[in-house]
C-alpha cells in the first residue's frame, strides 16, 4: 500500500529524521557544556570556511561515496555488508602493492592498475563471507565484522613487515613513487589560476567516485544483473521461482560491494598528498558508509548528498575538536544518531507522517 507520495518517502522522512538526530546532538552538546549553536557554526566553518577545509570535506565525501555505494549495492540484495572497513584496508593493500612494485611511468597507468588492484583486493576480502552467506547461510553481518578485525591484523602485519622500508619506525608502507601520484583538484584549479582547494588532498578520485555512482545507478536499474539483485533482495522465494540463483547473485553482489569499498583506496591511499599506506587507513569510512547509504535511501544521488553531508560533518568535527576541548568522537555520536533515526527508528518518523497523509487524503488512491 502506498500510503504517501514518493517525495515524502525520499525527502520528507529523511529530513525529519535528520532533524531529530540534530536535536539530540544539540542536547549532547549542551550536556558537555558546549553551546550547540556555536558548535554548529564552528563545524560549518570547519567544513567549508576555507579552501583547505572545503577540499578536505570533498576528500572525505569521496571516501564516503565509495563506501556508501558499497553498502547500498548490498542492501539492494537485502545484504548488510558491514565489512566496508576491512575491504577498504585490503583495497589499500592491493593499491600499495601494485604501485610500489611496479614503477608506473604515468599516474593514469598507476590509477588504472592501482584502482583495479584495490577493487580486486576489496572484493577478495568479501569472498569468504559471501560464500558462507550464500552457501551455508552464515550471517554476513557477523562474518564481515570478523573479517574487519582480521583485515586490520593483516594490514599491520604487512605494514610492520613486508611493506615497511628498512629503518622506518612508523608502521606504514614507503611513500609511493612521485610519478604515480594522482593530480589533486587544486593542481587542476591552479591551471586556471585558482586556489580553490588549497593544499587539501581532494583529487581526481572524486570523479571516479561520481563515475561509480553512475555505474551503480545503471547497474541496479538498467541491467539484468541489477534486476536480479533487486528481485532477490525483495523476495528470495520469488527469485527462486524465476530461476534467479540466490547463490550466484549473492556472491556477485557482495563482490561488487567489496570492490566498491576497496576502490576507496585510490582516494585515501593513492590520492593523498604524501601517498602511502598507513595503519587504520579506513578511519571509519566503512561504517560511515552505512549511515550514508541509509540516509541516501540506497540511491546514488542520495548517496552523493549524504556523503557530502558526512564529509562536512567529519571535517567540521575534526576542526571543532581542534578548536575546542570537545573530542573528535562527537562525530561518531552524531553519526550514530543519524543511523538510529534514518535506519532503525524509521518507522517512528514514517508512521505519523503516513497517518497525516492518509488523514488529509493525499495518499495515492487505491482501488479495492
Amino acid at each position: 500500500m502506498d500510503k504517501m507520495p514518493k517525495w515524502a518517502d525520499v525527502v520528507l522522512v529523511p529530513v525529519v529524521s535528520l532533524l531529530l538526530a540534530a536535536i539530540i546532538s544539540a542536547i549532547v552538546f549542551l550536556a558537555i557544556g558546549q553551546n550547540p549553536w556555536e558548535a554548529l557554526k564552528l563545524m560549518a566553518y570547519g567544513a567549508v570556511g576555507t579552501s583547505d577545509f572545503l577540499g578536505y570535506t570533498l576528500f572525505y565525501a569521496t571516501n564516503f561515496i565509495f563506501t556508501g555505494l558499497a553498502v547500498a549495492v548490498a542492501f539492494h540484495a537485502s545484504l548488510f555488508n558491514i565489512g566496508g572497513e576491512g575491504q577498504v584496508l585490503l583495497g589499500g593493500l592491493g593499491a600499495a602493492i601494485v604501485v610500489l612494485l611496479v614503477p608506473w611511468p604515468h599516474w593514469t597507468l598507476a590509477l588504472i592498475a592501482g584502482g583495479t588492484a584495490a577493487a580486486l583486493f576489496g572484493a577478495l576480502w568479501v569472498v569468504i563471507p559471501a560464500y558462507l552467506q550464500a552457501r551455508r547461510g552464515s550471517h554476513i553481518v557477523i562474518t564481515t565484522i570478523m573479517f574487519n578485525f582480521m583485515a586490520s591484523g593483516l594490514l599491520v602485519y604487512m605494514l610492520a613487515g613486508p611493506l615497511k622500508p628498512e629503518g622506518q619506525q612508523q608502521v606504514a608502507s614507503g611513500l609511493f613513487p612521485e610519478a604515480s601520484k594522482l593530480p589533486s583538484l587544486n593542481d587542476i584549479a591552479e591551471m586556471f589560476g585558482s586556489d580553490m582547494f588549497g593544499r587539501s588532498p581532494v583529487n581526481i578520485s572524486i570523479f571516479i567516485a561520481i563515475l561509480a555512482c553512475v555505474a551503480v545507478w545503471a547497474l541496479i536499474w538498467h541491467t539484468r544483473l541489477g534486476y536480479q539483485i533487486r528481485a532477490l533482495g525483495k523476495s528470495e522465494s520469488a527469485a527462486k521461482y524465476a530461476g534467479i540463483s540466490a547463490v550466484n547473485i549473492t556472491m556477485i553482489t557482495l563482490l561488487i560491494s567489496g570492490a566498491l569499498a576497496g576502490m576507496m583506496a585510490i582516494n585515501n591511499t593513492m590520492g593523498i598528498n604524501s601517498p602511502q599506506l598507513v595503519d587504520n587507513a579506513a578511519g571509519g569510512a566503512g561504517f560511515i558508509g552505512i549511515a550514508v547509504a541509509l540516509m541516501g535511501r540506497n540511491h546514488p544521488v542520495g548517496i552523493v548528498i549524504a556523503a557530502l553531508l558526512f564529509g562536512a560533518l567529519y571535517q567540521g568535527g575534526a576542526e571543532l575538536a581542534a578548536a575546542t576541548d570537545v573530542q573528535v568522537q562527537i562525530v561518531i555520536v552524531i553519526q550514530a544518531l543519524v543511523i538510529m533515526f534514518t535506519g532503525a527508528l524509521d518507522e517512528m518518523v514514517r508512521s505519523p507522517i503516513e497517518k497525516l497523509f492518509l488523514r488529509f487524503g493525499r495518499g495515492t488512491a487505491v482501488e479495492e
Partner: protein, 513 residues
C-alpha cells in the same frame, strides 16, 4: 427471540487495515450450545472478525457481549478469561516445544514450571479420554502431522476451559476421515453445551454440522439463516452476490501428442521425508490434466520440480526430450527456455515481487528475453513498459497502470498479471497452481476462460488445485495425489466428488472400484 442471552453478540464491529476495510459494521448473535457456521469468499473478513472476538486484533468500532454481558476484549488474555478459545487458520504453536509445553504456555499455575507441567499432563490425559483427543504429550510439534497439531490446538482451548470455541477453516488441511473425526468431537462439545463457531469454505460441512450460518461478503455480514432453511446453491449465491456458474463452459478436449511425460519422480527432503514417491503421468497437447488432493500431499513439490526450482530423481520428458533434473540446467531459466510456463501456487511469494512495478513483474522470470534488452549490457525499460501495458490491457488488469507496484493491486488483478505473463509466452506446457485462490468470482471466470483457450490452442496444461469444483470443472482428466503418490486417474464424466474425496484420503484404486 428467546429468553436466554446469546453466548456471543457482536454489534457494529468495524476494522480497517490501512486503507482496506476488512470488517464493516458487522453484527451477529450466536446462541449457546449451537454450532454456528461462517462462510464467505477469500478475504471476506471472516478471520479478521473472529480474531477481533479473540482479542488478536483491536476493532476500530463496535461492541462485544458475552452471555449478555458487555465485554471489552483488548487482548487474547481477556478473551481466554471470557471463556473463548480459538483454533487459528494458521496454527499458533511453538514448533520446537512439546505438546505439553504448548498446552501449558500462558496457562501456567505458578512461577515454576514443574508443577504446572505435572498438572497439565494429568489433565491432558483426562481430556484425551473424554473427547478421544489422543496425543503424546511429549511429542515435539514439528514431528507430528497437521491433524495432530490441530488436536493440540483444540486441547489448548479446552485446557483453558473454553466455553466458546472458534475454528477457522479447520478442515483445509485434513483428509476427509480426519475431518469426520473432528466433526464427531465438535458434536460432543456441543452436547456438553459449548458454543462453536466454524469458519469454512465447504458448503457441505456447513450443511452437515451447523445449526445456523452467516454469510460474509467483502467485509460485510450479508445474511444469517438457520441451516435447515437453506441449501448449498442458495448459500453460494448469497456468498458471491449473484448466481454462480458452477460449471466452466468448454468444448470437449482434442488431445494430441504427449507433451509432458513424467516417470518415477522421487523427492526426499532434508529431513529425510519422502515428498514424492514414484510419481508418473503424462499430459498431451490440447488437454488439461487436473491434479486433485488435500494440500501438503506433494502437489507443490511436483510443481516445483517441473518449474525447475526443486531437485528430484526420476525422469521428465518434454516433447520426448529429457529435462535436466539435478544439474546446472535444472533451474527456472532453462525450463522457460524449453517452453514451460508456470503460474505458481503462491503469487505473493513466488509469482510476483510485491515491491516491483507491474511492468517489472511482467518481465519477471523472462528478464533474459532479447525483446527486453536494449543491448548486451542494458535492459530496455521502455520496451518492458510497452509490453506490460499491452498485456494489462488485454487481460483487463485494473487499474491499467504499469508503474503501480504489484502490492497495490487486488489479489485478482495480481493473479491476472501473473497469468498474462505466463500465458502470453505461448508455452508448450503451462503449469498452473491454485489459479483462483483468493481471487474474486469475476476474475475466476476470466482466468478459467484463458486456461481453456490455451488448451484449445493445442497446448498442454497441468492444473493443480485443492478446490474439487475447479478440478472437476476445468480438467479433461483428473489424477488424485495422496502422500506423494498418484492414487489413480479418472475422467470427470466418470467420477464424482465422493470417489475423488476417498482417493484424496488415501483409499486406493482397487478398494473404490
Amino acid at each position: 427471540m428467546s429468553e436466554i442471552a446469546p453466548a456471543i453478540e457482536l454489534v457494529g464491529i468495524s476494522k480497517a487495515f490501512g486503507p482496506v476495510q476488512a470488517n464493516k459494521d458487522i453484527s451477529i448473535r450466536v446462541m449457546p450450545g449451537t454450532i454456528h457456521g461462517i462462510i464467505g469468499e477469500n478475504g471476506a473478513g471472516k478471520s479478521t472478525l473472529m480474531s477481533i472476538l479473540y482479542g488478536f486484533y483491536k476493532a476500530d468500532a463496535g461492541e462485544i457481549f458475552i452471555s449478555g454481558q458487555k465485554t471489552v476484549i483488548p487482548d487474547s488474555q481477556a478473551a481466554i478469561a471470557a471463556g473463548i478459545g480459538m483454533v487459528f487458520q494458521h496454527f499458533k504453536l511453538v514448533q520446537n516445544f512439546s505438546v505439553l509445553e504448548n498446552v501449558v504456555l500462558g496457562a501456567e499455575d505458578g512461577a515454576l514450571l514443574r508443577p504446572s507441567l505435572a498438572k497439565a499432563r494429568k489433565q491432558l490425559k483426562s481430556l484425551a479420554e473424554e473427547y478421544e483427543l489422543n496425543v503424546d504429550p511429549d511429542a515435539i510439534i514439528q514431528d507430528i502431522g497437521v491433524g495432530m497439531q490441530q488436536r493440540v490446538e483444540i486441547l489448548k482451548a479446552l485446557y483453558r476451559q473454553a466455553d466458546i470455541l472458534i475454528l477457522d477453516e479447520p478442515t483445509g488441511v485434513l483428509t476427509p476421515a480426519e475431518a469426520d473425526q473432528l466433526f464427531r468431537i465438535l458434536g460432543r462439545l456441543k452436547e456438553e453445551g459449548k458454543t462453536i463457531i466454524l469458519i469454512t469454505h465447504k458448503l457441505r460441512e456447513i450443511m452437515d454440522i451447523t445449526d445456523t450460518v452467516s454469510v460474509m461478503r467483502r467485509g460485510e455480514m450479508t445474511s444469517t439463516v438457520k441451516t435447515s432453511e437453506t441449501n448449498p446453491a442458495d448459500l453460494a449465491e448469497r456468498m458471491v452476490g449473484r448466481k454462480v456458474l458452477l460449471r466452466v463452459d468448454k468444448v470437449p478436449a482434442q488431445p494430441k501428442d504427449v507433451i509432458l511425460e513424467v516417470k518415477d519422480l522421487n523427492i526426499t527432503d532434508e529431513k529425510g521425508v519422502h515428498r514424492l514417491k514414484g510419481v508418473s503421468f503424462n499430459v498431451r497437447a490440447g488437454e488439461i490434466l487436473g491434479i486433485a488432493g488435500v494440500s501438503g500431499n506433494g502437489q507443490s513439490e511436483l510443481l516445483e520440480v517441473l518449474g525447475g526450482y526443486e531437485k528430484a530423481t526420476g525422469e521428465i520428458l518434454l516433447n520426448g526430450e529429457a529435462i535436466d533434473l539435478t544439474g546446472a540446467f535444472s533451474d527456472g531459466q532453462s525450463r522457460r527456455a524449453r517452453g514451460i510456463a508456470h503460474v505458481p501456487e503462491d503469487r505473493q511469494h513466488e509469482g510476483l515481487i510485491m515491491d516491483f512495478t507491474a511492468a517489472e513483474n511482467t518481465a519477471f522470470g523472462y528478464h533474459h528475453d532479447p525483446k527486453y534488452q536494449r543491448n548486451r549490457l542494458l535492459m530496455d525499460n521502455a520496451a518492458i513498459m510497452k509490453d506490460a501495458q499491452e498485456k494489462m490491457d488485454r487481460f483487463d488488469v485494473r487499474p491499467p497502470n504499469p508503474m503501480l507496484a504489484a502490492k497495490n493491486f487486488s489479489g485478482g488483478n495480481q493473479q491476472k498479471v501473473v497469468v498474462a505473463r505466463e500465458i502470453e509466452r505461448d508455452p508448450d506446457l503451462l503449469l498452473v497452481g491454485q489459479p483462483t485462490r483468493g481471487v474474486d468470482i469475476g476474475a475466476i471466470e476470466f482466468i478459467h476462460q484463458q486456461i481453456v483457450a490455451l488448451r484449445d490452442a493445442g497446448k498442454a496444461i497441468l492444473l493443480v488445485s485443492v478446490e474439487l469444483d475447479e478440478i472437476m470443472g476445468l480438467s479433461d482428466r483428473i489424477a488424485v495425489m495422496f502422500d506423494g503418490q498418484i492414487m489413480g486417474e479418472r475422467l470427470p464424466a466418470e467420477t464424482d466428488e465422493k470417489e475423488l474425496g476417498l482417493m484424496m484420503a488415501g483409499v486406493t484404486d482397487g478398494e473404490t472400484a
